[in-house]
Symmetry: C2
């Protein structure tokens, strides 16, 4: 058997399989978003186009399209617009996050904050968010506006809570979950919920789809927090190690800190704060204490909770599709562990 010159990793293949049924939806979204650049005032356009060009995996739009799945080849324009709303809000929060974290790289490119300065990044983030709400106001009722505005406020609250906890050596798991529930899971929840809602699925399923998205989002953030320590920058496409450097006690760091007694824990956090813990030494401690396995267990639990939300609705078309997403996300953590 000939050796392939560029072998595809199993995760790349799985992602392609996952994306294939919504390829046309995502293409429609790309076209729609590119068309939106013209809607921005001329001073902003270049920056908006840059952010759109260097945006990520479109996991939230995918959740939205699958949450409202009706069958192969059916593209609902309301879904495309709602996906644009969610993606623009997500982009806005990334642009602002990168200012706060002083991150240099995102989606394999310089962050806007790095490229154009934090002043411009504050304003472009605001404009992206404003335009998202502007689009949300195009729907016949105020429901999309309301849902998205509320979600955004929660995302901010999550970010602020995380900011407050920097360097807190006794962060509780409850607070960690509250933070990631707001800062990440909320937009996942809204994505799958809006998909189902705009496809006119029954209210109970709309809620269930939201619950699925929420637990998937929590799992996704746990994965992201583990990537920050164990991942490789060339795969992640962004600056890693920022959580430890910024003294953000994420679940992996918290699980490690729990292995110490209180004074050791304080010393550990102090050494994080002083920048005296290298990524390498952190990875060694993780291996020694089996932290990745403990994180994976917490992650698996959220995937389980996500899937359970859908159990009563197996007969509806979106369920099979949504389960494919959670299956894909579930695999991601395994690639990181090994």
């Amino acid at each position: 058997m000939p050796v392939q010159s560029k072998p595809h990793s199993p995760s790349t293949v799985a992602l392609q399989n996952l994306l294939q049924p919504v390829e046309l939806h995502l293409e429609a979204l790309r076209t729609f978003l590119n068309g939106q650049v013209e809607e921005f005032e001329e001073e902003i356009r270049e920056h908006v186009a840059y952010c759109l060009k260097h945006s990520g995996k479109r996991i939230r739009p995918m959740l939205l399209f699958y949450g409202g799945w009706k069958g192969e080849g059916i593209i609902n324009p309301a879904h495309v617009k709602a996906a644009a709303v969610v993606e623009l809000v997500h982009l806005a929060t990334l642009v602002h996050d990168d200012i706060l974290d002083d991150a240099h790289i995102r989606h394999k490119s310089p962050t806007l904050s790095r490229l154009a300065g934090p002043e411009v990044a504050v304003l472009v983030g605001d404009a992206l968010f404003a335009h998202a709400l502007n689009l949300a106001a195009d729907f016949p009722t105020t429901e999309v506006c309301k849902t998205v505005a509320l979600a955004t406020r929660r995302v901010c609250a999550g970010e602020i809570a995380q900011n407050f906890q920097k360097g807190n050596t006794e962060l509780s798991r409850a607070l960690y979950y509250r933070i990631i529930d707001y800062k990440t899971a909320e937009l996942f929840r809204v994505s799958s919920l809006l998909g189902a809602l705009l496809a006119d699925y029954p209210a109970a399923f709309v809620e269930a789809a939201g619950g699925f998205g929420r637990h998937l989002g929590i799992a996704y953030q746990i994965f992201d927090d583990l990537t920050d320590i164990l991942g490789k920058e060339e795969n992640a496409g962004k600056t890693l190690g920022t959580d430890a450097a910024n003294c953000k006690l994420t679940l992996p760091l918290m699980l490690l800190a729990e292995k110490f007694d209180a004074p050791e824990r304080a010393a550990f956090v102090q050494s994080l704060r002083d920048g005296q813990v290298s990524g390498e030494s952190l990875r060694e401690r993780f291996e020694k204490e089996h932290i990745a396995e403990a994180v994976a267990a917490a992650f698996d639990h959220e995937i389980f909770l996500a899937n359970r939300c859908l159990e009563p609705y197996g007969a509806l078309p979106p369920v099979h599709r949504l389960l494919e997403i959670s299956h894909f996300v579930a695999q991601m953590v395994n690639h990181l562990k090994h």
Copy 2:
């Protein structure tokens, strides 16, 4: 005649007269806004309360209440809510502005950016804006949401354009007006427009009220730009001289720069940039070149345009009230000149 121990300036008396008819409206707004603090996630509440406590003159809510004026003592709850929306958007932009300008004082108190750090200020600004849109989505139709979201995008575009022009020695007046039209006049426009709209006044008047607010807003920003150079910090209640220090070519600075030939102009902007122009020397040059008078003429022209928008509608109850506002604003610039 006995000398008063604490004489009131004519402008204080005029402001009191102006506010008196909407005192109850503004009280209802204060109560409503204070009630909103509880709606924010607990991590944000303290900061939101701080921003609300140290907010300003409520000129936008006043415009909104007068734009929808029906008669003494009539308080429309839709007006109170819309005023809260506009005021929260305004607060959000102030919180973000103060990060960009590195301003220390606003409304006679430390800015949030100074007090809690720029990271928190970015997020609290986002949350204030998100909550504004959340409230806007409470109206029966999406019109308020749409208007406010669009306005916010324009405010951001104006700020970005201004940011781009820092240190541009050949800024055109057309661009200056475009910048302040977006960054300031837009929210003035939306305030008076929403007032009239929510009071069910005829569409033509709703537009006219918007036009009035817009020109008044341009005048107000011209006044503000002059205050930055000629004002006294104890009266203004904020850090002054930041425009020159940040190389923002405002109308007053532009009019002064126009007195120079191109090389002198470049040298002037360079010396601004190097922080070598003291407020005192700037004020001396202003006096010598009669800049304040030239600025006042541009200001007066906008007041004229504002009032002219209302001319066909003299019979409607809001017109008399709105003209009182423009009359008051018109006086402000005189106090500064002398």
